[in-house]
Amino acid sequence: MEGKYVGQAVTRIDARSKVTGQALYPGDFVMEGMLYMKLLFAGRPHARVLRVDTEKAESLPGVVAVFTSRDVPFNEYGLQYPDQPVLVGPPGDPEAARQLVGGGIGRDEVRFVGDQIAAVVAESEEIAAQAVDLIAVEYEDLPVLSDPRDSLKPDAPQLHPKYPGVSYHPELVFEGNIASRHRIRRGDVDAAFAQAAVVVESEYEIPGQEHIFLQPEAGVGYVDDEGRVTVITSGQWAHEDRHQVAHALGLEEEQVRIIYPAIGGAFGGKEDLSVHIVLALAAWKLHRPVKLVWSRTESIIGHHKRHHVFARARWAAAADGTLLAAENYVIADAGGYVYTTNKVMGNLLLTCNGPYKIPNVKTDVLGVYTNNIPGGAFRGFGAPQGNFIAEAQMNKLAEALGMDPVELRLLNVVQGDDPMPWGKPLPDDARGLVDTLIAAAKAVGWQQTEQGWQAPACAPRPGDPPTLKRGVGLALGVKNVGFSFGYQENAWAAIELRGGREIEAAVVYAASSDVGQGTRTVIRQMAAEALNLPLELVTLEPTDTGITESSGSCSASRMTFMIGNAIKGAAEAALQKWADEDRPARAEYTYLAPKTTPIDRETGYGDPNFSYGYVTVATQIAVDTLTGQLYFPKMACANDVGQAINPRLLTGQIEGGVIQGLGWATTEHFIEKDGYPLTKTLSTYLVPTIVDIPDELEAIVIENPEPHGPWGARGMGEMPLIPVAAAVQAALHHAVGLWYDAFPFTTERVLRGLKLKE
């Protein structure tokens, strides 16, 4: 539903300030009397901290304070579960420590290299760095678990105490090193396998991924003029940041304030806290502004990664291609702490069987502690891993059946009231599944013939050496929009209309994190549309917990959907108050999304989500079979977005998502050895450059309105990344006849496969 502003490529609110360098990012703030912080990271994967001697550091001229575990009032935090110490070491107040989850046991234990030991505050960054080197820590090294499959062995050391579970996260089981456990049981897979014409069995290794947002973690902490400890920083959910900071400092939430300025990317990597608590702690204790900026290497060590996943899959089909059964067993590396593992695994559970009619399903997913960098949120949130399993299985089944992969999907894809493996149909008509599949397939050369859809032949092009092989491949994806599994999704917004006879200004309040995707621009467009006012009259207040309520997390492809509905509600109410002669006319509105339910612990049955996004990626590939180098002449991504609010920003999301997925599939190889990351710089962890991306990337926008979405919009930010890796795997197979079941598909891995085939 296009409008005056909705559906228009309005210029970004921050285009000018960012292009001219005037936009302030968290590391750009300078305050009077500001001090500088440097952190001492553990730098070892598993050890007990016996003693932290800060005396030498404290006596260095220019050092103002050194904080350790003894200084943190409530030394625990975590987005889903507070299993991580803010600073690792012996407790200050043993009585307070006993109130921590698990009775405060193990808070002196380093569980990954990025655990923090001490925070030095000094008059300059150089002095702080020198003082960090003067801190003496006595460690007792402990055995390191660097593979989640080893963590499951009976004799493996247990990395965490047996924590008490919580009713709202029933999947967090804390059984040995299993942090979370998830399953689906439907029908009888064994009986189905016994009568199947075709069975495809595989083992997959799906890699982790580092976010490489442009702006590493940074912030400034200070006490504001109302006595609130305030942190200007980057994040994805200001009110949740405030909640965790308040908890660790033992403060009321009203005593803590979080402000988000311009943010240089997040991709899920800023869902969990980084600099927030230590900055708040120092500012609160010292009553002076304190600044902390992480280096790229500190960032890579200090924040979580996409989960590294090991999977076994066994799928069966009848001779005509009808799917009969899917059995998946998945182990994911949760690393040292839970972060969002339980929720990421929930999404992996729901996506690893694809959007298909499968009468018999058996799925087990485990999130398992190790001493690696924690696994956590990253664009797609479990769906990219789940998608790879499902779509690799589908592409292999198509080959085994002698069917075109498009035809196999059309035969099995859910439509209308067909239930998903959790027993409920997708909440809308899910037309986007077929629509995106056909559109993306056509874009790379699929043709409809009398025998059905057929992949292009991919003959050599003029000038191709005989050793260059070409192919095409595709994968279909689905992912939920918004928070799920029974959580009552909500988003708050307020609008204030100012003026006398006429509305002269509309001020919008929303706590939405603009991580670079342009959500503030879209909010302004939607507010102008809802108020029927010229865009110029609409302004947006900063994301600041001091002046807003919670609009929820900028994640799960949810923000446009959720805040758009909140804006509509607030606009309607504000216009009513304006009509009632309120001046200014201010109205708040909290949008509540349709209810969802938790899924059954044993069977996975339930109604876990209220909205989904649909996407297909199809790609052409050219493989240099002598070197293993891959070329991508064309990729296409078809995305059912419901309604594009801002087509230009949306196309940017599609292009960026596909390229980020391509990096994960090809050059981005995050390597950890015995708990130590080896790719800690941008010269060893390789994101695609302009010469590595496809020669042509076609973004295909499909608009099947989402029944509950504002103006019909549905979430889309994560979708384009999700099917990329499986599409590349399929194209590789089409080109060289090999299934690569582990990626990234580096030049070396591709060539090794070809050599083994010889």
Binding site: T627, T681, S683
Partner: protein
């Protein structure tokens, strides 16, 4: 970041004095594309840097007559490339393309566009990474390196300049003025090929320079390899084989000789096995490319 002093000398005397301050670790700076990441990552901890790129003549790319030191005894003019000439200046220079095509090709492969706008030939040589793209090109060109110490200049053949990873024949305080490439006969062919994990902005896993120089009715061949030994290396065994001809069987023998000369290691970028395989593929490709151009 580790703090250091920055000096910008007016002339060579001042540069020498600054570079030889007693008890201090001082590094010459030109494009600084190595220094900045190395200092940031705390792998180099200099007390000071001396910015030499403004010194006279250091950015020249020109033809020069044979001299008493470098290019001695040549009857035709040599190509002079100043140490502070940037990679893009070298890659785009018609003189370099004409007189030292393999070096122009190698310069084009360094880093990415922004890096090539700053990185210099002298910096690539002074850093002396075994993976430096231009180094194997200098070996096959048999370039001379003109260096200057306190009072005098001297000439070091490129073949004797690289002594180990990050180790060169430079004496304390000496700076590279430039290189001189001896004249080559008309019809000389050159090819630089490299492979990296990522196509843009990545260090070479293997770099390869090949030249075919018309000689006595046939060709004299030169092959140089990078990133497969502690220094860039020449492969005289393969060159000798190719001197007898370049039919398919001889080419394969030369490829095997090139492979035998490579002593690669496993590192985070590639295994030794993959590097060896790439030596074979790049050598074959480069030789085929050149043979296809032979009239």
């Amino acid at each position: 970041m580790h703090p250091f002093d920055y000096y910008k000398p007016k002339d060579f005397d001042e540069a020498f004095a600054m570079l030889t301050q007693p008890g201090k670790k001082v590094i010459p700076l030109a494009g600084s594309t190595d220094i900045i990441p190395m200092v940031r990552d705390e792998r180099w901890l200099p007390d000071a840097v001396v910015d030499i790129k403004g010194l006279p003549g250091l950015r020249d790319i020109k033809l020069v007559d044979s001299g008493p030191l470098c290019c001695a005894g040549q009857t035709a003019q040599c190509l002079y490339i100043g140490a502070a000439a940037r990679m893009n200046e070298i890659a785009h220079s018609e003189l370099v393309q004409q007189y030292a095509s393999v070096l122009a090709q190698a310069a084009q492969e360094v880093g990415h566009e922004q890096v090539r706008n700053r990185a210099t030939l002298g910096g690539n040589m002074g850093t002396a990474s075994p993976a430096g793209d231009t180094l194997s090109a200098l070996l096959v060109l048999e370039a001379d390196v003109l260096v200057k110490g306190k009072d005098e200049e001297r000439c070091i053949p490129a073949l004797k300049f690289f002594l180990g990873p990050r180790k060169t024949a430079l004496q304390p305080g000496e700076i590279i003025l430039g290189v001189q490439v001896p004249p080559l006969p008309e019809g000389t062919l050159g090819r630089y090929l490299r492979i990296s994990r990522r196509k843009g902005a990545d260090l070479a896993i293997v770099g390869l320079s090949v030249m075919a120089i018309p000689a006595e009715g046939g060709y004299q061949w030169r092959i140089g390899l990078g990133a497969v030994a502690p220094t860039p290396i020449r492969v005289p065994e393969a060159e000798t084989i190719l001197a007898t001809g370049h039919d398919e069987a001889t080419v394969e023998k030369a490829i095997q000789a090139t492979l035998a000369a490579a002593r690669p290691i496993d590192d985070i970028r590639a295994t030794a096995a993959y590097r060896r395989e790439m030596v074979v593929q790049l050598t074959r490709r480069a030789l085929q490319d050149i043979i296809a151009q032979i009239p």
